[in-house]
Symmetry: C2
Subunit: 361 residues, 2 copies
């Protein structure tokens, strides 16, 4: 298998990340003219039939891909994960109430820090002291009286991933920004989950938020509508002008995801990750960052060079082979290769070949 579009880079960026060429082609065509309407997708009115249909289909597809019934609400909101870090405690954590946070990385910790402004946010577990090189162990028993527990299913920076949903007898909220729709998952175990779309689900500019309708009603503050989930739900994510284009690209990604099927995606993602982790283990130049094999992420593979001088050399070597986006986050160093759904097996094979050829040189 070869990459057939030679003008396109092999893009392993962590997000914004690679998108399928067919999605890009449809998006570009819609920017010129949406569906032969004589208007660009950037110009269509958000309350017109064309966009309402986009919204309806996108909500339906999210529920279908997650196997969720009408007990759940699907929202498209702005502000990224960080706005969710604020809105979650604003909505669901009263000033004198408690919520639990599992700190598995920078973003998980940021969610915890934001919640502290609004109530008693408690750290349930953290691996910050070892720079998040493995996942924190959840407490066997939760403190009493938690309004919810917040976790992050995949830690983009550190290359760790929660492969099974921990048992949790209070409402569980998860940031799934970097692994939504990448694998089988029982979404009904979550009271709420959310994902910024620029990894597996579209182009930066919108955040998918899914929550149980009964949980959504538990609002603990009087606030402007803009900050409450239930007001967004009542207006079907059109409390004000939604980011039309970003939602449309997410719809294209949802259609693409459905056409491939979560099962096939899950299988291919395992193949991609196995191929790359095996090569890292085998290759004398590199070593993995995450020791615990069970904690390793299928989405972001972090590794370093045994000799740090080889890091720039290998990056330059990759550039000559049209490979981009492999630099690790500054807090970890080395390399981070993101294997989101739109990155195909052929791209990983090309990278692995480069690792082998680099080792020979």
């Amino acid at each position: 298998m070869k990459n057939t579009d030679l003008t396109r880079k092999l893009n392993f960026n962590a997000g914004p990340a690679a998108l399928p060429i067919e999605v890009l082609q449809q998006a570009a065509a819609a920017v010129l003219d949406y569906n032969n309407s004589g208007l660009s997708i950037l110009e269509i009115p958000h309350r017109g039939a064309a966009f309402v249909a986009i919204m309806d289909e996108s909500r339906q597809l999210v529920k279908e891909l997650c196997n969720l019934n009408d007990d759940y609400e699907v929202l498209w909101l702005q502000g990224g994960g960080r706005m969710q870090f604020c809105m979650i405690p604003m909505n669901f954590l009263g000033e004198t109430e408690s919520a639990g946070y599992v700190d598995s990385g920078y973003w998980a910790e940021s969610a915890y820090k934001a919640a502290k402004y609004y109530g008693n946010a408690q750290l349930l577990a953290s691996t910050k002291d070892i720079n998040y090189t493995h996942l924190p162990k959840w407490p066997s028993q939760l403190p009493a009286g938690l309004q919810y527990v917040h976790c992050t299913t995949n830690n983009t920076i550190y290359g760790t991933q929660l492969h099974t949903t921990p048992a949790c007898d209070v409402p569980l909220i998860a940031d799934m920004s970097s692994d939504i729709f990448s694998c089988h998952r029982n979404y009904t175990k979550y009271a709420m989950f959310y994902a910024t779309v620029q990894k597996n689900l579209g182009a930066a500019g919108v955040t998918l938020v899914v929550l149980r309708k009964d949980f959504m009603q538990r609002v603990k503050r009087t606030m402007p509508d803009m900050l409450t989930y239930k007001a967004h739900a009542a207006q079907q994510s059109m409390l004000n002008t939604p980011p039309v284009f970003a939602i449309y690209v997410s719809l294209l990604m949802l259609r693409w995801t459905k056409a491939r099927g979560i099962n096939a995606i899950d299988i291919e993602n395992r193949k991609k990750a196995q191929l790359l982790y095996s090569e890292i283990e085998r290759n004398s130049v590199f070593k993995p960052v995450v020791d615990s094999i069970t904690d390793r992420s299928m989405m972001n593979v972090c590794f370093i060079a045994n000799d740090s001088r080889n890091e720039k050399a290998f990056t330059d070597f990759c550039a000559t082979r049209n490979i981009t986006g492999i630099k690790g986050h500054r807090s970890v160093g080395g390399f981070r290769v993101s294997l989101y759904n739109a990155v195909n097996l052929a791209a990983v094979e090309t990278l692995v070949q480069a690792m082998q050829d680099f080792e020979k040189e």
Copy 2:
């Protein structure tokens, strides 16, 4: 002058609104490949050199077009006007402090209502009781101790516009969503102004916020960074992943605006509005909504049919001439024709011709 691209509709929508065809063409090309990078604009990393250059140029062009020096900060934020309605009082209105709001329409009132959650928001003037058919008269003397005064320069729904900046001896904040860059304006009279971009400045999904650096520091609450302007400024609007594509389209619009020049835009906008208002006054079928000629908007022209049965008939008549987006907001009825910068004089001439032909029939 004729519209040369016959496949495109003449789009008078209030926002999302018409964009110049050359901007759409550049945006579509970038979705396929940004600047021969081998990556789509939807795929480039937001901390990479290509996007940092987009951000830098966009900030510089905003300052240039507004004649602002480095005392001002330019931010690109998510959440639209409604998030600004929250962030303004969160940042600048202490719980026991006062701020003044001028209520010139639905959006102005929404800003006032949001502020009431955070402090003593005072209504300085309102024309709500007459359905905003003219602008409210500002008080000759402001109440003592206001932290700021908030106003809306153009009222999209009602077709009124503030053509001169009122004298104000406290920091003045303005929502300029629907008339920014449409006319000459002394932006230095404002401590802060903001605009959702989907009218004169791009595609829905980002909000331009400009504020004086000294004013920005007056934060009245401890809050997560995501909710404070100064944290966004410290991170150059990259506190988290920005809406890359929306900012890029706004940059294209800024370049287009600069190439035409505010002076030429101002002159053409007056011509367009004069042509349409004159026809409404002359034509026996229609009458204007806003009586006060000095309050009439150059951006959104609202009118009704003398015989309401003609409203659907005229809309259908326009549809046969490729004209779209003229329906008035449900709270006003009739017609609303938006004449944003990207709507050219030829489009208005076509509409006026349709009005004349409809009258003859």
